[in-house]
Subunit: 326 residues, 2 copies
Amino acid sequence: MTPKEDLQSILRPIEQYLIAVDEAIKSNLHTGINLLDDSSMHTFKKSGKKIRASMIILSSGLNNSIPDDIIDIACAAEIIHAASLVHDDIIDNADLRRGLPTVARLYGPKVAVLAGDYMYTKALEIAVWNNRTDLFPIMVDATIEMVKGELYQIQYSSIDKITEDHYYRIIEMKTARFMAACAKLGACVAKMNNEQADVLYNCGLQLGYAFQITDDAMDYLNNAEITGKDAGNDFINGKITLPLLRLLQIVGNKEKELLINYAKRPDNENWNYVLEKATEYNVVEYCINIAAEYVQKAVKLLSVFPDTQFKNVMTELALFFVDRRY
Amino acid sequence: MTPKEDLQSILRPIEQYLIAVDEAIKSNLHTGINLLDDSSMHTFKKSGKKIRASMIILSSGLNNSIPDDIIDIACAAEIIHAASLVHDDIIDNADLRRGLPTVARLYGPKVAVLAGDYMYTKALEIAVWNNRTDLFPIMVDATIEMVKGELYQIQYSSIDKITEDHYYRIIEMKTARFMAACAKLGACVAKMNNEQADVLYNCGLQLGYAFQITDDAMDYLNNAEITGKDAGNDFINGKITLPLLRLLQIVGNKEKELLINYAKRPDNENWNYVLEKATEYNVVEYCINIAAEYVQKAVKLLSVFPDTQFKNVMTELALFFVDRRY
């Protein structure tokens, strides 16, 4: 099985919900303005992993069954995530996303900026439907943190400034808090008590760390054909992530100086050298091991919930985060 | 007096509220991430016209006094407007805004995309503070319409496709509905009845048309020194607005063909020719007259409210919309 088929197989028990989320995304984003409909739906043309929707749906079912009104908020989370990708791809000047040209490449940066704005705003509108005032603050706060994280990453884009502490702070804001919010949103829709909601928030946080560390590690593997994304994207866009920080810790002083100089001129040639060294020093393996520790913490947190099918699925999903080859 | 001094003088009776709005913007946007704080506050460095905040504040006072809790929502409206400017300036590749370099010029497009995202999201968060579920839908709907309007404008950016009907639809979505929402938000905070809230929505709509038509007309005046914006910005960025549509209606067939060809290659040289013709045919005056009709409609609508100081100010503000030379 391919990793994508693996994931589909793991998520089979909530497949009907994920299909409903896809339909909700389509109907919610529709405006009748062709250029907007085409550009805002483009990211969904190839089905994404829908990790965030899955986290919401699975969390909501951990006590018993999944509430019917889970779809809207899961749809909102996927739209916000997609909006961030549309804007990221302008920022990073990326060519491919999910194996297709990015919105910015296909429709130009003007349309991409506006399509992302529309998606963010529409998703936040969905989050307050039915006067659910408890969901909106969680969702909007997580969105704000995500954007702040991206800016914090730009502020610490210099190899001379960034430390491992900064890196962890970046991925917490950029990814982990949004995943944490997703897990908590599921708890809120299912009307769980505060204690369970907090456990799920914390669990989502650990999974978010694991997810982003793995994602950053994958960018140091030469696997464009599998991922549909260019490898070395982060390095070339001046994003200093854990694999490089690790590499700098373990190489000799001379090598370190060379690598720092290469990171300051992140072109393709320098990337090839960095990739070679990263492979030589097994930094991807190191990162995946750290991610696996986060996954273990997350799985432990789930022990407060009864053993159910959805808990099994959530555990399998958590393990998949560090096992995925894409 | 300069137009800016004129406006300040008109708005003197609500000056204390506008100062409070400025302070609220500053404290709400603060994050502690320097790059984000600097870029998101940049647009507010030179005080803008604060038309939207003024509409909210004045509307809220039309029955008697201005409610104390008006500041947050007025602040949210100004931040959303500023966010749209930050993203517009990336899209239009503009150099100047309020006489200063744009956020995109100063911090680069990466930061500008994210700063705008942060501002939009933060403003929508402010709009739901204190569980005011009645305000958020108005605000978010207006924001969505604004973004849709911008995309609709890109969809109809071709001189062969756009009609006057499209133009009016664009400015309704892009500007008028947001101003209408501002007027209605004032009514909601002041707990006016639905009838009065609807009158104010309609009044704001008319003022929005007047405001945007005047703004588009001003771009056909050579007045960069006064406005702090480049003239011809719209034409050069492929935005077909009322002055050009009017010009095409009144020139002879040969001239029309030439102008259409120029609009398809909107460089500086062609702009100079279009500006010359626009001046010759008094299209700016034509547009201002249309805007003045919208203002008259708006002023008439205000007649349902008692004669108070705030109604006077709102009327003066409305008249200023078509009189402003910047």
